[in-house]
Structures are given as C-alpha cells and as structure tokens.
C-alpha cells in the first residue's frame, strides 16, 4: 500500500492501438503507446493497480495506474560474456605477441 506523498511509479496508455497514426511498422501498430513516470502520490492511500495521480519532481500532475512504490533501479552488468576475455587475450597477443600476451 502507498500513502500520500510516497514516491511512486505509474503507467498509462497514451494512445490505444486504434489511435496510433503515422507510418508505423505492423508490429508497432498492434500495441499501445505506453508511458511510465514517477512522482509523489496525491491520494491519501492507494494499492498497486489503482488509478492514481502523482506530482512529478517538476510539479506536473500526471495520472495512471500505480505500479511501484519507492521504485528502484535494477541496472547491472548482466551475466558474464566470455567473448570479452577472448577479445582481450587476442588484442594483447596481436600487439605484444607470444609470451608477452
């Protein structure tokens, strides 16, 4: 549950598939144009999935479905890519050669 002034993330469809226009590939035409934004919850309380309003950090009011409270970044360096090691070894070998590699 989120309460007023909690930092939350919301989601909303800006354009439904039938509202999309312009020169779009077929796959893109079939899906909505979606939007995500973060802000402080304006309702007294809300549950995940509720339609809510938020005030963004510049003071704009946006509305959408509540999807996350205290949204975090889940960035990382992915799983190990062994090809990078192969590149490193071949680069050293190409420049320094033989035993120096």
């Amino acid at each position: 549950m989120a309460k007023r002034n909690d930092w939350v993330r919301i989601h909303r469809n800006v354009l439904e598939p039938e509202e999309r226009t312009g020169k779009l590939p077929e796959d893109t035409k079939k899906v909505p144009l979606e939007m995500w934004v973060k802000g402080r919850l304006q309702e007294e309380q809300a549950e995940i999935g509720d339609e809510v309003t938020v005030k963004t950090c510049v003071g704009r009011i946006e509305h959408g479905r509540l999807i996350e409270v205290n949204p975090c970044y889940e960035l990382n360096y992915g799983v190990f890519v062994p090809e990078l090691l192969t590149m490193e070894e071949s680069l050293r070998s190409a420049l320094f050669g033989g035993d120096e590699a």
């Binding site: 312009g22 144009l33 992915g78 190409a94």
Partner: protein, 468 residues
C-alpha cells in the same frame, strides 16, 4: 478553455507550439522557393563562437583534453602496409560534467531559455543529451523534463536507456518514458504546451552552434601539442549536429582537416519496430538515424534544422556493432580507458582509417563518453544474447543487424566501409527539388550545391537524371 488533446489536434498545432517553446519565428529565414538562409539561422539567436565558449566555461563544459593512443596506433601499424598508420588521438569528451560532448549542445540552450524567462526545459532524447540537459538545467537553476523512448511492448527496456533515465533523475530531472514509436513527438508537444517550457531541441542553432567549440578546441590543441593541425577528424553521425558543429568549429580555427562521418551499420532494422527495438545494441550513432537525417535534415522537431551534415562531410563510413564493441574492449585493455561503447563509434572508424594514412599524419576520434551499469559493453552484450542475438568471432562484414554481432577474429578485420556519399547527396537534392513549384533557379541550384558540398554541375546532373 478546453484544449483538444487528440493526436491530430495537437500535431496540427505544432508550428504554434514550437514557436512558443523556442521564441524563434523560423519563417524569417525562408528566402522563397526551396531557399533558406542557413547562416542567418545559425546567427539568429545572437550567440557567436566566443559566446558559446564563454557560456561553456561559466558552466564547466568543454576544454576537454586530447589523448594520444600509443598502443592502438601501434596495433593499427601492425595491420597496415609499411609506412602506414597515422597517430590516433581521442578527445576525452567524457570529462564533461554529465559525461559526453552533448553538454556543449545543452549549455547555450539552457542559458538562452533562462535569459528568455522560461521556467524549464524539455528535451526528447534517449541518449546522453538527456543527461547533458539535466546537468545544465541543474547548474543554471531551471526545471527539466526528459522524454525517452525506452521500452518495447513487453516493458523490456534497453539497459543503456534505463541508465540514462537513472542519470537524468540523479541530476534532478523528471523522466517520462515511452514505448516504441514516433508519436513520442506528440507527447512532447503536449508537454511543451502544458508547461510552457523551452524546447531544448538538438537541432536548434544552440544545439549545433555549441559543438563548434569542440572543433575550435581541436584546431588549437593540436597546434599547441603537435605544432600542426590533424589530417582527419572522425565524427559519429546520427542527427548530424555533432559533425556539423565540429566541422564549423574546425573551419573557424583555420583547420582544413578532412571531416569523416562514422555510423554503426544497422541496415535492415526498423527504428520504429516494437519487435526490433531491443535487437540492436546501439541506440544512437547508427545508420537508422545517420542516413535519413543527412538526406532529409528538416524532418526533425524544428522547421529548419541547424544540423546539416552533408554541407560539411568529406566522407561517410560505417562500422559494425561487433567492431565498435571490439575497439571498446581494446580501449580498455590496451589504453586503460573504460568508455562507451556507443561513444567509440568514431574511434572504431579511426582505427581503420589510420591504416590508410602515413605514419606522420594525425587522425582524431573527436569524442569519448562515460560508461556504467547498463550502458557498459558487458551489460550490452549480455542483453543482446538474452534477446537471441548470436555473438561470434569472424569477419564483421558478415554481421547481420538484429541476428548476430560479429567481432573481428583479428584486429586487421576491423574495416570501416565507405557509404555512397554521392548517392546521399543526390537523395537530398531530389527530395528538396520535389518541393519546388517551378524549375529550379540558378540561386536554388547554387543553394543545393552548398547543401551537399558538391557543385552546381553535380546538382544539374542529378536533376537531369530525375527529368529523364
């Protein structure tokens, strides 16, 4: 007053909204027919090169160092014919406050917005420009909104773009994220209308004029360090502002270096496709932007773009994704610099082009960019593999964008390939001629020759083929 916010109504108000959001009446630069006065556009806001330098110094932008890459030069010489292999340098643009050369493009926009009394700035960008605008807005005390194209319909986000969102938020900006589609511009127009903020377009005179300082610095730094100007300057090319501004700055420094555009080859991938969005590992500096913006510069978010790369381009080369990743790894393990990868597009091309030049010549990749979780080479390749892209060693020439990434099996296989510049010039000429109501005048033909760095004879030849 009830405002119609339908797609048709909002995009129909585009001219009016952009005028309000930039304070510039672009019609003043039109000169009848297809003609417009490009230099008047560049000088219109009243910021000279000296003004850009002053503003950038005030807000901690630019004056970045140049580094000679001795080991990469040595490696290029091992791949080259005897006596060949120019000295390779990079300009360390990652040392700008937000980590890329884009801050040069943001500084005057934010400065001007503040001077004109706007309360905030908006930029539509999934790349380093967002962080640059956010950083300058923070420094100069304006509010900032960045609008990104970030996710596919499964809500899977490109890790590099998510990192950019994190950085923009860390610098105090609001980040509005959208799924794939060119209607991003509709959302931006609504936000400009709602907030009354300034449109910090990459294609304004500020957005391009600000990069002139980079070319100008290059000219002076090489005179000071090497006693001569560089022979070749390689610029990553997407929207064209980087190359345009750099080339203009080089000219103003009296430097006659050959200006080469470099883009990552993403041929065959649609930039607006939901399914293909996450099958590419480069979100900028690729041919999907580079070619259409070069041949049709005025399809940007302003009526007349200040980025007109064909006016300045001597050569256009492409490199493969696998080659940029490879040079990124080389920059780390042979030069001790962990940067990019997207910002190393020009370096990948420079490594190859150096092998065509003599050893006493100088080639410069004119940027680096910061790296970090999400945008680093490791998460980008990990994400590619997760999306079904095959990672191979071999001849990068065989790489198929969206299917595989082919790293050079040996350094000599990293080869920049020439794009057909005359074909692009002809494409621009045909496109603009199609807008002419009557046969082109001599003035219009001279204008098209300037637009394409060609000659009136070349323009006439293209037009004759068109008529025939």
């Amino acid at each position: 007053m009830i405002v119609d916010r339908s797609y048709q109504a909002v995009t129909g108000r585009k001219g009016e909204i952009i005028h309000q959001a930039m304070g510039v009446d672009y019609s003043q630069y039109e000169r009848g027919g297809i003609l417009f006065d490009y230099e008047a556009l560049m000088n219109g806001p009243g910021y000279t090169l000296e003004d850009h330098i002053r503003i950038q110094r005030q807000y901690n932008v630019g004056n970045t160092p140049i580094f000679e890459l001795h080991n990469l030069t040595a490696l290029a010489r091992k791949c080259a014919a005897p006596g060949k292999g120019a000295r390779i340098f990079v300009k360390d643009e990652a040392s700008n406050p937000a980590g890329s050369f884009k801050e040069r493009r943001a500084a005057a926009s934010v400065y001007h917005a503040k001077k004109m009394g706007y309360k905030g700035v908006i930029a539509a960008t999934s790349g380093n420009y967002g962080a640059a605008v956010a950083s300058q807005a923070a420094m100069q005390g304006l509010k900032c909104i960045i609008v990104q194209e970030c996710y596919d319909s499964k809500a899977s986000g490109q890790p590099e773009i998510i990192e950019k969102a994190r950085k923009c938020e860390a610098l105090g900006a609001e980040v509005l994220q959208l799924s794939v589609g060119p209607e991003l511009f509709y959302e931006v127009l609504m936000m400009l209308e709602d907030t009354g903020y300034f449109n910090a377009s990459l294609y304004s005179a500020f957005g391009v004029g600000g990069v002139e300082t980079l070319g100008w610095e290059l000219g002076h730094q090489f005179m000071e360090r090497c006693g001569r100007h560089p022979d070749v300057v390689v610029c990553a090319n997407a929207g064209g502002g980087n190359l345009t501004g750099t080339a203009r700055g080089l000219r103003k420094a009296g430097c006659g270096a050959q200006v080469v555009a470099a883009s990552v080859d993403l041929k065959g991938l649609s930039m607006a496709s939901d399914k293909q969005f996450n099958r590419k590992s480069f979100t900028t500096a690729h041919t999907g932007f580079g070619v259409p913006y070069a041949t049709d510069p005025d399809h940007s978010d302003v009526p007349r773009s200040a980025a007109r790369p064909l006016r300045y381009m001597d050569r256009y080369v492409t490199v493969k994704q696998g080659e940029v990743f490879y040079i990124t790894e080389a920059l780390a393990v042979l030069e001790g610099m962990e940067k990019g990868p997207a910002g190393n597009t020009s370096l990948a091309a420079a490594f190859s082009l150096a092998q065509e030049l003599d050893q006493d010549q100088i080639i410069v990749a004119q940027e680096t960019e910061y790296t970090g979780a999400g945008k680093h080479i490791q998460p980008q390749l990990s994400f590619a593999r997760q999306n079904g892209i095959e990672l191979l060693f071999g001849d990068p020439q065989t790489e198929i964008p969206g299917t595989n990434i082919v790293f050079p099996a040996e350094p000599a296989l990293l080869r920049a390939r020439d794009a057909d510049l005359n074909h692009m010039r002809a494409s621009l000429i045909r496109r603009q001629a199609a807008h002419a109501a009557a046969p082109l005048t001599d003035a219009e033909i001279a204008y098209l020759a300037e637009e394409t760095k060609s000659s009136p004879e070349f323009v006439r030849m293209v037009l004759e083929k068109l008529g025939g």
